[in-house]
């Protein structure tokens, strides 16, 4: 058997280009999966560390709505004799030097033992007396704050440096009294004494929450029960882990989408490996036939081919892990930027490669290679020894297989439809249906390609015998051409699907912005994140703005996060709309007149994503925690929204004010007097608020443009993955076609010896590869549109809850066209060049 193995190894080494392409394709497929895993895991880890740094060892949290927890409650609870450790926390978002940081206010002496696993261990350790002095300054000096050493260095600050803290458009002087160790999770934090944080966030007497640490066991459970009994209306006790999980869950749909796209790249690489392995088998069918004739068993031959594939898969996976780590480092920036734009603030300092991902990469690399090799291996092992020598037998079997696949394609498509039909909400089922649909395209391709090629051969035969030969060859070499076109067709279908989905989403968003944004000018307090209470317009600033001439009407909004016992945090926009504002809200459920009447009477209107996530529809009730206790709100209607994938609840601002006692305004929409332009009013508005508050004052057009820019930024990562998949597909095509054309070198040499010119052979090869690229595109267009419908109506709906209108534009197929034809033409270049220069005498000399 050693000789068999030697023959196998030598074959691979004698075809280094083929080996390299197969490895590169598989490595790229695995790398995409690894890169996404790294980016997602690193961002999640950064978030977990930052939660851990802020929460310390808290097991539970006492939370309230946007108004926060009264600090009197903390004082009252602290006086209790029980085994619970308590610590007050004030949190908010601020900007320092253009960078968003999480402001965390601690009461250092609240419970010295509390933060053993949190921030306390990170406090500076530069000599006891000096540390005490710094801590004293931190507690007593106005504006004293601490930052992690690396963040301070990035901002150009050193202990003693003065800097400016921007909170909701108000500027405050601050001083860095000390830097903290660069412990994980602290990079996005600005630490101050609790009173200082309350001052900056304008929440005197209020706490964001009270952290609770309960000992394990019955004593702890009993104490928590007692604590619940003592909590006033409007506050609630939650598990800290559950809160963290709720925050992380916000990104689940986003990260699932990324992981699904990365798996697609791996799926495409199956075809690449199949093509490489089957090429290696076919190249050796004569020698394998001889070996079988000499007595090598089926099992022996099968074992060699599969072992070869496994080694190839293992090498590809290892290369993929290395390449994926490099790509993953770059993707981290894109993923964390999107998370920062849409969900929460993270700063990734540590690249995390989960062990599970390594196992997944090795298993998928080897698995993909074995699956891809199974068919050609079985083919050669099951052939009678003398049949191993015949090409027509192989092609005959491939033809029969293509008919079986045609049938399988129908079954796969039917299965995809059935899965969508039967699984009403499962995102996973949506992705399974998408993969089945793409597999259905791949299965359909060989038979369709053959029929198309035969038709063209027949039609072109009258005009040019060369073209007839070229197309006839494509049909007659289905074992090679079918695989190449199937791989490309599947990838191109996925590209068209993603492209149509992204552009449809973009167009729906643009239309939605145009419809929803009715005001001429928008004024808001700056700061990151939806519903941050510190983002408020100062009352005198609101008066000054509304006094500016040229304003005919205005709408006011207070955006906050309220609590629901059942659903956790719920984004809420308390609206005081101008009459024009109602026309901009597109109701998808509920009759407008009734909806807005009930809205005025205290009902809520929920956005599509929120309705989907919480499974609400008109007539249902949503229970929210108000300062006076839990209260059920009728859902009057559902409106279309793309601004927030967590969804939003609209409530009349008068109702909100009466229940939450919060008069603040987060943003204003200004409707100008007819004939007055936004450009003329904006400078006057800026002058009116100057020296009072830094505000974002934008015209309607400007805000829409910014929204579209954020949208495009969000989809950069999708486009990166899309091009990585396209890269794998292009390599698959180049590899398969190169293999096919090289396999035909002798045939081409015969044609050349019979009178085919070098230019003629080059034209023939390029025509063949271009035809295959075009055929893949033709198969991919309907499949891509079906994939787009699935992505829009099933996957996006299930992941985010929003409905997107399908917008199809020929330009969306441009990338796919470019990829198909470029990859096809590039694949033909080398064989075309080679065919013109091959030494005919030696090529045609003997078998």
């Amino acid at each position: 058997m050693r000789t068999l193995w030697a023959a196998s190894l030598r074959h691979l080494l004698r075809h280094p280009a083929q080996l390299a392409l197969a490895l590169l394709g598989l490595a790229l497929g695995v790398a995409t999966v690894i890169a996404v895993d790294i980016a997602v895991a690193s961002s999640r880890r950064a978030f977990e560390l930052s939660m851990q740094a802020v929460n310390g060892a808290a097991t539970h949290q006492i939370v309230a709505g946007p108004e926060g927890v009264d600090e009197e409650l903390y004082a009252k609870l602290k006086r209790q004799r029980w085994p619970l450790d308590l610590a007050p926390v004030v949190e908010g978002y601020v900007a320092v030097g253009g960078r968003t940081l999480q402001l965390v206010g601690y009461d250092l002496f609240a419970d010295p033992a509390f933060r053993d696993e949190g921030t306390r261990r990170d406090l500076p350790d530069d000599g006891e007396s000096e540390a005490i002095e710094r801590l004293a300054r931190w507690i007593t000096e106005p504006g004293a704050a601490m930052l992690s050493a690396s963040t301070a260095a990035e901002l150009g600050l050193a202990p003693g440096s003065a800097f400016e803290v921007l909170v909701g458009g108000q500027s405050y002087p601050a001083e860095l009294v000390a830097t903290l160790d660069d412990a994980a999770g602290g990079a996005t934090m600005l630490l101050t004494d609790i009173a200082q944080a309350q001052e900056w966030l304008a929440s005197a007497g209020r706490l964001t929450r009270i952290d609770v640490r309960a000992p394990p066991g019955e004593a702890g459970e009993k104490a928590l029960e007692d604590l619940r009994d003592l909590l006033p209306a409007g506050t609630d006790l939650r598990e800290a882990r559950q809160r963290a999980a709720q925050n992380l869950d916000l990104t689940a749909a986003f990260t699932t989408n990324l992981q699904a796209m990365s798996l697609l790249a791996l799926l495409v690489s199956i075809f690449l490996i199949y093509s490489a392995v089957s090429f290696a088998v076919v190249q050796r069918r004569r020698s394998i036939g001889i070996l079988r004739a000499l007595g090598a068993t089926r099992g022996g031959v099968l074992g060699i081919v599969l072992a070869e594939a496994a080694v190839l898969g293992c090498m590809g996976a290892v290369l993929g892990i290395a390449l994926g780590t490099l790509i993953g480092r770059e993707l981290i920036a894109l993923v964390s930027r999107t998370i920062n734009d849409l969900y929460f603030v993270v700063s990734v300092r540590e690249v995390v490669l989960p062990t599970g991902s390594i196992v997944k990469a090795l298993a998928s690399g080897i698995g993909v290679a074995l699956v891809a090799a199974a068919l050609p291996a079985a083919e050669v092992a099951n052939s009678a020894p003398q049949l191993g020598l015949r090409r027509s037998v192989l092609e005959g079997r491939t033809l029969r297989l293509s008919y079986v696949l045609l049938f399988a394609s129908l079954l796969l498509a039917a299965a995809a439809v059935a899965i969508v039909w039967l699984s009403s909400r499962s995102l996973f089922a949506g992705f399974v249906a998408l993969l089945l649909l793409l597999a259905s395209v791949a299965a359909l391709t060989p038979a369709a390609l053959r029929a198309f090629a035969l038709l063209l051969a027949r039609l072109s035969g009258r005009a040019s015998p060369l073209m007839r030969l070229a197309f006839g060859d494509v049909a007659a070499s289905l074992s090679r051409t079918g695989v190449a076109v199937a791989a490309l067709g599947m990838a191109v279908a996925a590209m068209i699907g993603v492209s149509v989905m992204v552009e449809s989403f973009r167009e729906s968003l643009r239309e939605w912005l145009e419809r929803t944004m009715r005001a001429d000018v928008y004024v808001s307090a700056p700061g990151p994140g939806f519903g941050r209470p510190e983002r408020r317009l100062e009352p005198e600033v609101v008066s000054a703005i509304l006094a500016v001439p040229g304003i005919a009407n205005h709408s006011a909004t207070r955006s906050v996060i309220v609590e629901s016992a059942e659903h956790g945090p719920v984004p809420l926009s308390a609206l005081d709309p101008a009459p024009e504002s109602f026309e901009g809200i597109q109701l998808v459920a509920g009759e407008p007149e009734r909806v807005w009447r009930e809205f005025r009477e205290g009902a809520i209107v929920v956005s599509e994503p929120l309705a989907w996530r919480m499974q609400l529809e008109p007539g249902d009730r949503l229970v929210l925690l108000t300062p006076t206790g839990a209260r059920a709100f009728d859902v009057a209607g559902v409106y279309r929204e793309y601004g927030n994938d967590r969804g939003t609840t609209y409530m009349d601002r008068a109702v909100y004010r009466s229940l939450w006692g919060d008069d603040a305004i987060t943003s204003l929409g200004l409707y100008l007097t007819p004939g007055v332009s936004a450009q003329s009013v904006i400078p006057r508005l800026r002058a009116a608020v100057q020296d009072r508050q830094i505000l974002l004052i934008r015209s309607n057009e400007e805000l829409r443009e910014i929204s579209m820019r954020i949208f495009d930024r969000t989809f950069v990562i999708t486009r990166v993955l899309y091009w990585l998949t396209a890269g794998v597909a292009a390599i698959a095509l180049v590899s398969a076609l190169l293999a096919w054309e090289l396999e035909r070198a002798r045939e081409l040499a015969i044609l050349r010896s019979l009178g085919l010119t070098p230019a003629g052979s080059a034209v023939m090869i390029e025509a063949q590869t271009a035809f295959m690229g075009f055929a893949a595109l033709l198969a991919a267009i309907p499949a891509g549109l079906a994939a787009a419908v699935l992505l829009i109506d099933v996957i996006n709906r299930r992941a985010f809850g929003w409905r997107i209108d399908l917008h199809v534009d020929p330009a969306q197929i441009g990338d796919a066209l470019l990829l198909s034809l470029t990859a096809a033409l590039v694949a033909g270049l080398y064989p075309a060049w080679r065919a013109g220069r091959v030494p005919l005498a030696s090529e045609i000399r003997e078998e």
């Binding site: 030969l469 010896s753 019979l754 009178g755 030494p839 005498a841």
Partner: protein, 234 residues
């Protein structure tokens, strides 16, 4: 008329230069059937490749019917070969992805004969070689003798003036070889074409009008006794 003058061709084998043809000369009249004999590696196939323009000589020239082949550049050489030469190889060299009839029709189509006319002529040619019934078979399902008959049909279907056959019976059993060679000679004679046939087969040389032996890079006119000595005195 085929004129070969001072034809030289050498190949590099590592550091050694192997001179296969060394100022070879020959004149072959139109319609003549000439057998070329020689030991293995003596340059017989190289000579046919040079005559057909598949290969290029280091020096010397080849003229066919007044046209100097060695002065032609690609693609003129290819066009010349396509119109004027029919090639029969030892290992058939049929196009595996085309069926029997398509292999034959290919030569017609390369020469601009298309459609019904091409099909008619291909079918007639296949009838002449006795393969009319197998015209839609895949070529690798045919026996060696049948494949060589397809190759002969392909070499003759476009009515070339020069047929080059490189050991056409070398891969066939004795009986089949005899049938194939008789068929080839008969078809060539009927068409009045010139045939150069490289062979080790005594029966073939016996049927040729002249025998040229390629020895030490040169072509030597030999008679039947000399060939008898070469072939082992039979």
């Amino acid at each position: 008329m085929l004129i070969i003058r001072q034809l030289s061709r050498s190949f590099r084998e590592g550091n050694r230069i192997h001179r296969v043809l060394d100022r070879a000369d020959a004149r072959i009249a139109t319609g003549e059937i000439v057998a070329i004999i020689g030991r293995s590696g003596s340059g017989k196939s190289t000579l046919l490749n040079l005559i057909s323009g598949i290969d290029q000589p280091d020096s010397g020239f080849i003229e066919f019917d007044g046209r100097e082949i060695t002065m032609l550049r690609e693609p003129e050489r290819t066009l010349f070969r396509r119109r004027n030469i029919g090639f029969v190889y030892q290992f058939f060299n049929l196009v595996p992805t085309l069926d029997v009839e398509e292999n034959v029709r290919l030569m017609l189509e390369l020469n601009g004969v298309r459609g019904r006319e091409a099909r008619r002529r291909a079918a007639a040619m296949l009838g002449e070689v006795g393969l009319a019934e197998r015209r839609h078979s895949a070529v690798d399902t045919l026996s060696g003798g049948e494949q060589q008959r397809v190759a002969i049909a392909r070499a003759l279907v476009h009515e070339p003036r020069l047929i080059l056959a490189d050991e056409p019976t070398g891969n066939l059993d004795e009986e089949t070889a005899q049938q194939v060679i008789l068929l080839l000679l008969s078809l060539v004679r009927t068409r009045g074409a010139t045939l150069l046939i490289v062979t080790h087969d005594y029966d073939v040389t016996a049927s040729a009008q002249r025998v040229l032996e390629l020895r030490e890079g040169r072509l030597h006119e030999v008679g039947a006794p000399a060939y008898g000595a070469f072939a082992g005195g039979s």
